[in-house]
Amino acid sequence: MPAPPAVQVSDLVMRYGATTAVDGLSLEVARGSITAVLGPNGAGKTTTLETCEGYRRPQGGTVRVLGLDPVRDRRALLPRVGVMLQGGGAWSGVRAVEMLRHVAALHAHPLPLDLLVERLGLAECGRTPYRRLSGGQQQRLGLAMAVVGRPELLFVDEPTAGMDPAVRRTTWDLLRELQHDGVTTVLTTHYMEEAERLADLVHLVDHGRVVASGSPLALTRGRGDATIRLVVTEPFPAGAPQSLAAALGAATEVLPVDEYSLVVTGPADASTLSVVSAWCEDFGVVPESLTMGRMTLEDVFLAETGRTLAPGEGGHAA
């Protein structure tokens, strides 16, 4: 019998009072993969992850982690799973390496601390109390705590939030290395780039549902290879997207982003670009920028939901 998927979520429903945080979400995580759950704040990512971690009991649907029920089989599952919370998770007065050593002491075969301290750049702050660590240092310590017990499966919630770009890349390298050594990783993120660079499989999530799934390449190729992005100096007059869509014809899709910008997807090429340019002149809008580039997951998300991934636009965090 083949091993069950690392994670299998079927029709998960989670509510907080009158708010439905997760609304019939289904996803699967293959063993050995890095799988990203990508969506804006408030999409239900953290709630889904915490249900997989056994913190919450599903109100509807089922969750299986390594073939087990994360609530009922919690004790059997916990040593096999590494968890990185979105924030906190340490005493305020504990020193960074002291905390890591403590978590290591709870496991049977922990990784050598020196290795993690070096790889995650924690040496510089090893004796600093947790409350005085920067946000990025707290994140790195959180990741170290999640991997130190040599888990089979890693749940990381917004692993690189608050990290500078160089440290973010170091973190991605570590996650890739873990994957190479056989660790499955499930990560939530609202950074399109993180999902695109790191994940084998991306589940785009919005309003508590998966709106699209696939490899980053499959998702971005699915709607044509390129994207044209138009940003204008004054807000668009009413009816602008419809007018542009009419000018371009049925093969392309016009997606309004906000009152200053829109995106054109589909078989966009140089001739499409000239049509858009001509339309600007005819319609009387002045481009701030008009660019053509490869399609991103951000564009896919916009196409699927009509919303952007950017934080601050997606309501409160779940």
């Binding site: 913190y55 040593p79 998770g89 005493w91 496991h107 075969h109 017990g149 040599r150 290395e177």
Partner: protein, 266 residues
């Protein structure tokens, strides 16, 4: 992953999964040692654990001598030391535990440990271990100061005092955890300190109940007075006082059931 990536990261099986929980006893030991270090690291915790009881003892003995206060006819240091030990037990098992646990909840530590192999029973045992180590430090310090002041406890009473102190610890710890598991951390801090001060002043913990006049009978039902009475009976007279121990047992049962029922981990 491309070949180039593999070459760059140099992955070689270092991170190959090898999950497993440490043996239960090792986890509890690690947790207790951590709890102890953190309890003793805080200045304000040390103040409440050691400095205030010592001041209460020295101040009480000096004041009783100067003012000629009668403490049931006993030598002031003999009469006051059991109560000061009771105060020390109460400060750690109730105030320190409540405050520390309240902030552990607030900082997501309890949630994080909830995802570690350490079971809740192990966490609780670790906390108890930390408490007992801190209390041992308190007893040594307070006892040394008392002996320097001429304390002559009943030898058998020193043994009898141990179960009294443990029962008192259980009673106060249950109440402290109930507080920490239901209120916000700041509210826990405020309430735990306030209750400590109120019991210190009016709870018949340091001073014997006879000093409180007509309130004496009612005070007997407080855990603070019960612990003070039990330790005084043991250390002054070498006897086990049954009624105070029953009172402590009832508080311990109440505290445990409240904590297990209402404690919220997040």
């Amino acid at each position: 992953m491309t070949q180039q990536d593999t070459a760059r990261t140099g992955a070689d099986g270092t991170f190959a999964p090898r999950p497993g929980a440490a043996p239960y006893a090792a986890m509890v030991r690690a947790q207790a040692s951590m709890e102890t270090r953190l309890l003793l690291r805080n200045g304000e915790q040390l103040l409440i654990a050691v400095v205030i009881p010592v001041i209460a003892l020295v101040g009480g003995v000096v004041a009783a001598g100067r003012l000629g206060i009668d403490l049931d006819g006993a030598d002031p240091v003999d009469a006051l030391t059991p109560g000061v030990l009771a105060l020390a037990v109460m400060s750690t098992a109730f105030t320190s535990l409540a405050i520390a646990t309240g902030f552990e909840r607030r900082y997501g530590l309890l949630k994080r440990l909830g995802a570690s192999p350490l079971p809740r029973s192990g966490l609780l045992l670790g906390k108890v271990g930390g408490l007992l180590v801190v209390q041992a430090v308190q007893v040594v310090v307070v006892g040394a100061v008392a002996l320097a002041l001429g304390w002559s406890p009943d030898p058998l009473g020193l043994l009898l005092a141990v179960p009294c102190a443990l029962l008192g610890t259980a009673a106060f710890a249950g109440l402290g955890l109930t507080l920490a598991g239901t209120l916000r951390a700041e509210a826990t801090l405020a309430v735990a300190n306030l209750v400590y001060l109120l019991l210190l002043a009016g709870g018949a913990v340091v001073l014997p109940r006879s000093s409180y006049g007509a309130a004496s009978e009612v005070l007997a039902l407080l855990p603070s007075a019960a612990l003070g009475d039990a330790l005084r009976a043991a250390l002054l007279d070498g006897t086990l006082a049954v009624l105070p121990l029953v009172v402590l047992a009832v508080w311990a049962a109440l505290g445990a059931s409240l904590a297990s029922r209402f404690f919220r981990w997040e």
